[in-house]
């Protein structure tokens, strides 16, 4: 079948898990089969059609209307195609996605884009804690792709991130980039305390010097050619860096032998 259009029948009374409900997986199903997909819901499993009005839609696109803050794992494992949520999602949206586009017009719960390795997430609202992070027990967070959050992000954004780009237009909560391995985060707004503990490598772009833990060293302000390069090469950073040629560079977490950096532009 072509794409799918889901509209909640009612606000969810328990958590539902949309793992595996992706355009690619749906492509092989008839509308009837899609309706009968067993979706974990509360302490059991129910047919997709018990939770949603299910209709066909444009090819390669899964459109979810309204959404629900208990609707988890939207776009988890997405490898291609597009998922558009005209509303909010629960936790784990875009978990481990490797390609495709996930657009969410509202807010997202915790672990948005956790462990994603490719593709693009556009979130208009606010993200919960642990966006772009590693799930508990996993060694690595987001490793590739772009996570664009137009609102603010919660605590532990980019925890254990090891690649890819996170851009937050609003604020970021505490513990940003904790144990970060590599990758780039840019935060337009304010930043919570305890940024970058255990940071190994990677870059956090900010507009003001944040509160930093003991293991960060201030190397001063520098004319960095890399700024000009990133401003041009990375469209998402173009507006953030603009024409800046200088940045204050703070390096850490040196206590753990880390060489991560906070670049204040």
């Amino acid at each position: 079948m072509a794409g799918l259009h889901l509209k909640p029948r009612a606000p969810l009374a328990a958590r539902a898990d949309l793992s595996g409900v992706t355009p690619a997986a749906l492509a092989t199903l008839s509308l009837r089969e899609a309706e009968q997909l067993a979706v974990p819901y509360g302490g059991g499993r129910v047919a997709l059609a018990e939770l949603f009005f299910v209709e066909g839609g444009p090819d390669g696109v899964l459109l979810i209307e309204i959404g629900d803050e208990r609707l988890d794992h939207v776009g988890a494992g997405l490898a291609s195609g597009e998922i558009i949520v005209d509303g909010v999602v629960g936790a784990w949206a875009g978990l481990g996605m490797s390609g495709g586009v996930l657009r969410i017009s509202g807010a997202a719960g915790a672990y948005l884009g956790a462990e994603m390795s490719g593709g693009r997430i556009e979130l208009n609202g606010a993200a919960g804690d642990h966006a772009g992070a590693a799930s508990s027990g996993s060694r690595r967070g987001m490793s590739g792709g772009v996570l664009a959050i137009h609102g603010s992000a919660g605590a532990l954004l980019g925890e254990r991130q090891r690649g890819g780009l996170i851009v937050v237009a609003g604020d970021a909560g505490e513990g940003l980039a904790t144990d970060m391995i590599a990758g780039t985060v840019a935060v337009g707004g304010s930043i919570g305390p305890r940024l970058g503990r255990g940071m190994k490598r990677g870059t956090v772009f900010t507009h003001a010097v944040p509160e930093l833990p003991a293991g960060f060293a201030d190397t001063g302000s520098h004319d960095l050619v890399a700024l000009r390069l990133m401003s041009r090469r990375v469209p998402e950073l173009g507006a953030f860096i603009g024409a800046a040629t200088h940045a204050r560079r703070l390096v850490g977490d040196t206590l753990m032998g880390g060489q991560g950096e906070v670049l204040v532009v």
Partner: protein, 417 residues
Amino acid sequence: MTEIESAPHIVRDVVCGFCGLGCDDLTIETDGSAVRARDTVCPEAARLFLRRADAREPQCSQYGEVTSEADAVAAARAILAAARAPLFAGLGVDIDGGRAVLELAARFGGVLDHAASEGLFRNYAAVQRTGWLATTLAEVRNRCDVLLVVGEDPTASFGRLFERLLPASPLFAGSRKVIFLGEAPGEKARAQLGGAETVHLPADDLVAALEAIVGLARGRTLPGGTVGGVAAADLAAAAAALTGAAYAVVTWNGATLADGALIAERATALVDALNLTTRAGVFPLGGRDNIIGVNQLLLWRLGYPLRTAIRGQVSEHDPALFSTEAALKDADVLVWVSAFRPEPPPDFAGKVIAFAHPETRFARPPEVFIPVGTPGIDHAGTVYRMDSIVSLPLGALRVATLPSVAEAVRLVAGDAP
């Protein structure tokens, strides 16, 4: 497992299953249904073993109204049968009771979590990501010559910890040195430490100070004069003691540390660094109300630790959504299991079925309350010690008038469909 002497009903070598330390040398006095700990027990054990002779006979209730066991069981079953998203929480229960609850959850579906799992999952930040090099009680007792205690004085939670951990005459350790990073040892701890040399490093940032010690153990030099509120020289001395130890041990209580996950990771890194040249192990504290046992049970039965949901015969682990705190927001039924202590269930708007300690004081009467016996007092059972390796047999100290959790839960489960 216990040896009941003749009157006046003194029971020696009683195993205590409450805090997870696994003391098994308690002396308990019983008189009919009355139970009282004697001699050297910690306040926690004294409190939790105590059963007064004049205690009211506990009874099942529904909405606070006394009811028959059969009615309570039937009501519980009806609630579960109609439940959409049950949460099986508390889980303060022995292994057999844990099995029964697991099977109940498998049948009706729902989330499984223990009341004390926060500390456990902080430690899992380290153990699941990088693994760690650990040790157990008897090894610490006999080999540990330098012990690093991170955070609060653990004696508050584990009353006899240092007595058990560092007895006076170890088989191998030539000397004992204990470094307290964080809170100073209290009087009780000092008394138990006896001849051990103690050092106190009053860190205001535990993570930073511990990271500094990791760095020093790896051969780096510190950037400043103090780190985390501790003088660099003191940190260097601590690192030197650890690297110079024959068998260093690092311990902390994840449950009491807001930064427990990072502490666990840094402690793991420290022990990894130490083992390059000498021997060392982590010894994480925790394990109250058999959380370790129930967690082990889930691991061998479901392949997942606590914070796992069974939904339509398939289990899934989600340390975020299936924590008690998070799951309470999504559940419609709370099955509260707390056999070790009168711990009331958390605030919850949905229906509550409580398999709980008879003295539990509920903020509001639960839909169904089935009082249960306490493992190690009312019935035998098995609990795990905090190290997850040793498990202990709890015996019965008196004639049980209450069902065990296993019995009560199996009544509710009835015959499998």
